[in-house]
């Protein structure tokens, strides 16, 4: 028997899903652009799921002693909400943009390993679906996205939810590691002629640095997950103190991954605004070397700060002092970036497009999140703040105010390239202001709730002074916040059909992805000009005043 299945390669930039072969083209594709788009749609889909979960929690917490959700349901929802937002929304968002943009930004036609790229996506997707399959198998996981042992051990959590959680994260972890490997190799080997590492667009720099973070951090998580799975399924004792194991070991493993993970989600967002802010300020980034080097510093330091999640464990003054020092230190390179972005606008010509507004919102909200994070490095202050609602405020300011806001800036920025149509700026502005106001109303009050003594992860709270009113205010904010995303999704679907047709380079940007058509043909480039500086398209458009002649940076000279 010798029969063959016809596997169609994409013939058009965006195969129409309704035609006979269209769906098959999406499923069988190894094209980095189609895979990138699938990552982004997956992210949008799971965002809707995760937001629905968040909204149920906000309804439950709107009033003290509310009985809208049972404790068991609430605990399942807050667990899947956390896991969902981190692994199924922000991770595919950053990997989606990276997979789509990195090859084009370095003038390549494909990723280094196109088949591995498809493998990464599908492994990730099925890992994600497995998380929710637990719902049909006897209950979703209910031990938090951090799954602290021994609560996550079989004796205390006997439903299969935690097992599904472990397997789901293992699969997604494998997908993420292979995607990171692919991106690192692509950056190292596929760059256009003349595009040296010192001329890379900052987004590519950040994704490159980030890939090493993923390669080093996810295996730590996967090792821990395997140990927990062996504990649960084969009755081992890694994390059970009653039989000689160490519950604290799980915390070391989890945060050994978990803290780098925060930077894994933040660094690419930093890269996104490092592209957006210069373009809409009409000036090169202020201090390219500082922004790139500080990312490397963040990457290295991020592996030495995990135990600031564990100051209340009681590990002793010396241990705590070390991690206090490293955690404070990592604030410095992060702060440097904020100043660099703000200074980029100075002397420029700032155009407040929706994309730029989101980038500026990142500067404001991420600074709040970064500063509140410094509080956790100050050990005695951490003893007040940790495990309270203050941490909930902090994590949302970092992950929404940082990563997601960066992703939205990137969405408005690259949508014309990806789809060939502009997102509506009119709806975009509404989206932005509802987002900014709604976000801050929802989450800023969490700082006060934490300081007033409200612990996190509680399904309800007693009617102590101010708790009810602040929580109610937050729930109202969440409604505004939610409506902003309805506008975003409306904007996507409206603009896909009726949006203004995009030119190849609608923003007059300077990196190579804007050289090709919008949307790019299945083969990105027929030819790429010799890159002589960090802004090849500026050089093309301004032959009278090219970057490489001016010597913005001494390093740009002398490379070919």
């Amino acid at each position: 028997m010798n029969f063959r299945i016809h596997i169609p390669e994409p013939k058009t930039p965006l195969p129409d899903i309704k035609t006979g072969e269209g769906l098959l083209q999406w499923i069988s594709t190894v094209d980095h652009k189609l895979i990138g788009i699938m990552y982004l749609w997956t992210s949008v889909f799971f965002f809707i799921v995760g937001f629905a979960e968040a909204f149920l929690m906000r309804i439950q917490l709107a009033l003290p002693n509310n009985t809208f959700l049972s404790p068991e349901t609430y605990n399942q929802i807050f667990t899947t909400h956390g896991t969902n937002m981190i692994f199924l929304v922000l991770t595919p968002m950053i990997i989606g943009f990276a997979t789509y943009c990195v090859p084009m930004m370095i003038g390549a036609n494909e990723m280094a390993f196109p088949r591995l790229n498809a493998f990464s996506y599908w492994t990730f997707l099925f890992g994600g679906l497995l998380l929710y399959a637990s719902y049909f198998a006897g209950g979703m996981p209910n031990v938090g996205w951090f799954s602290y042992a021994p609560l996550s051990e079989k004796f205390f959590s006997s439903t299969p939810g935690v097992d599904y959680w472990i397997l789901s994260l293992l699969l997604m972890g494998i997908g993420t590691v292979s995607a990171a490997l692919n991106l690192a190799v692509t950056t190292l080997t596929m760059r256009a002629k003349g595009l040296s590492m010192t001329r890379l667009p900052l987004f590519v720099w950040m994704v490159f640095v980030n890939s090493f973070l993923i390669l080093a951090a996810f295996p730590v998580l996967n090792a821990g997950l395997f140990m927990l799975l062996i504990d649960r399924q084969l009755d081992a004792h890694f994390f059970l103190s009653s039989t000689g194991g160490a519950p604290i070991m799980w915390q070391h493993l989890f945060w050994g991954f978990g803290h780098p993970e925060v930077y894994i989600l933040a660094l690419p967002a930093f890269g996104m605004v490092s592209e957006v802010i210069p373009v809409f300020s009409r000036k090169p980034i202020f201090g390219y070397e500082f922004v790139a080097a500080s990312s490397v510093a963040i990457m290295l330091l991020s592996f030495g700060v995990w135990a600031h999640h564990m100051f209340a464990v009681g590990l002793g003054n010396t241990f705590n002092a070390f991690f206090a020092a490293s955690s404070m230190l990592i604030a410095v390179p992060t702060g440097v970036k904020i100043f660099n972005w703000a200074a980029t606008m100075w002397g420029g010509s700032v155009k407040l497009t929706t994309s730029m507004l989101f980038a500026l919102a990142l500067l404001v909200n991420f600074t709040i999140g970064g500063l509140s994070g410094v509080g956790f490095a100050l050990v005695p202050v951490d003893w007040r703040l940790t495990d309270s609602y203050f941490v909930v405020a902090h994590i949302h300011y970092v992950l929404i105010g940082g990563s997601l806001t960066g992703g939205l800036a990137a969405a408005y920025y690259w949508f014309p390239k990806i789809t060939g149509r502009m997102l509506s700026e009119k709806i975009g502005k509404w989206h932005f202001w509802l987002f900014f106001i709604g976000f801050n109303c929802t989450f800023f009050v969490f700082h006060f709730l934490g300081l007033l003594g409200m612990p996190r992860r509680v399904y309800t709270y007693a009617d102590f002074p101010y708790l009810g009113s602040l929580n109610f205010f937050s729930t109202m904010g969440a409604m505004v916040f939610g409506s902003s995303f309805i506008l975003f999704i409306v904007n996507i679907f409206y603009s896909l059909r009726h949006g203004k047709k995009a030119e190849n380079n609608p923003w007059n940007a300077w990196t190579l992805e804007w050289l090709t058509t919008s949307p790019p043909q299945p083969k990105n480039f027929e030819s790429v000009p010799l890159v002589k500086s960090r802004r090849p398209l500026w050089d093309l458009m301004h032959p009278e005043d090219p970057d490489w002649k001016r010597g913005n940076s001494k390093k740009t000279q002398g490379h070919e």
Binding site: A321, G335, S349, L378, F448
Partner: protein, 320 residues
């Protein structure tokens, strides 16, 4: 809005009138931290607003000057944070040591607190009794407390009395408690510990020496036999319906630590670790359908008849 302002005032008010030396240190460091946050936030916002307003598009024709970067400026805003970090690190280490001193090594804890899913057990080894969910301490001096867990990880947190400390199975943690004045303080378990994490509240009563000594005597007293026949029936049920396997009542059982000690339950303010006010009606409701009152808790429903529950409630009420 008014209430929101009240909250802020309430919070800053707290900073000047702290209840314990440990909290004093935290307040002081927190104040420095707030000032740091405020200053940096203002700098960043001013930088952004200047960029947006002063350098808005349309100000000039064509593209602006493309020269950028300034090593001196960049060095400045790299070096200043390093100085600030050093300052905060020194303070952090100093205050951390102060809060944790003197070292607990070689000392005997006055109180043993054992966290359970979802209640607190308090043992006073020096006085020879055990109680639950309500911690009484003498005001005005340092008390060494030992924190353990019987099952999963919990966390002891009474905001007015300073630091958090985890309760971890297989591990003994120590912390100092000190309330400078008599008073009542509330807290809660702060590490997620399962279904009823939300209802694992802490109630601390700091008392003057005489009041505290009086309380100790009342706790040491072994309750006498029930006064009437209903109470006696309750005592019989308590033994026969196996309540006694989990709950300790001095005089009739000694070593059950699975559920809260009930020896002087009627002297406490609340039941179910701060979930309900202690009252006969609430005890009846609780015994009648534990999973309805505190879903997920380890208290089974014994399917008791109405008059059996009544007898048990009478018995528990009489325990003094």
């Amino acid at each position: 809005m008014r209430r929101f302002l009240d909250t802020i005032l309430h919070f800053f008010g707290k900073m000047s009138t702290s209840s314990s030396p440990g909290e004093d240190y935290i307040n002081r460091l927190f104040l420095f931290f707030l000032i740091l946050c405020g200053v940096i936030m203002v700098v960043v916002i001013v930088m952004i607003l200047t960029g947006v307003i002063r350098y808005r598009s349309g100000r000039i024709q064509g593209e602006p000057d493309q020269r950028t970067g300034n090593r001196a400026v960049e060095m400045t805003w790299t070096v200043i944070p390093f100085i600030l970090v050093t300052f905060f690190l020194v303070l952090t280490i100093k205050y951390m040591k102060a809060i944790n001193s003197p070292s607990a090594e070689g000392k005997k804890a006055e109180i043993r607190i054992i966290a359970h899913q979802w209640w607190w057990e308090m043992e006073y080894p020096g006085y020879g009794f055990t109680t639950a969910n309500e911690l009484h301490i003498p005001a005005g001096r340092d008390i060494l407390v030992q924190i353990e867990s019987a099952d999963v990880i919990h966390d002891w947190w009474v905001p007015d009395l300073g630091r958090k400390i985890d309760a971890i199975p297989g591990r003994i943690n120590y912390t100092w408690l000190n309330s400078q004045k008599p008073g009542e303080f509330r807290g809660a378990c702060s590490e997620y510990c399962g279904a009823q994490h939300a209802h694992m509240l802490i109630y601390v009563v700091a008392q003057g020496k005489e009041d505290f000594d009086g309380w100790v005597i009342s706790q040491q007293r072994v309750p006498g036999p029930p006064a009437d026949s209903t109470g006696a029936e309750g005592a019989r049920l308590f033994r026969e319906r196996t309540c006694i396997s989990c709950h300790n009542i001095s005089g009739i059982s000694d070593d059950a630590h699975i559920g809260p000690d009930l020896t002087h339950v009627s002297l406490r303010q609340t039941i179910l670790s701060g979930m309900l006010p202690a009252s006969r009606e609430n005890i009846i409701k609780w015994i009648g359908d534990p999973q309805k009152i505190k879903e997920g808790s380890h208290m089974p429903d014994f399917m008791l008849e109405k008059d059996e529950i009544n007898a048990l409630a009478t018995y528990l009420e009489d325990l003094k």
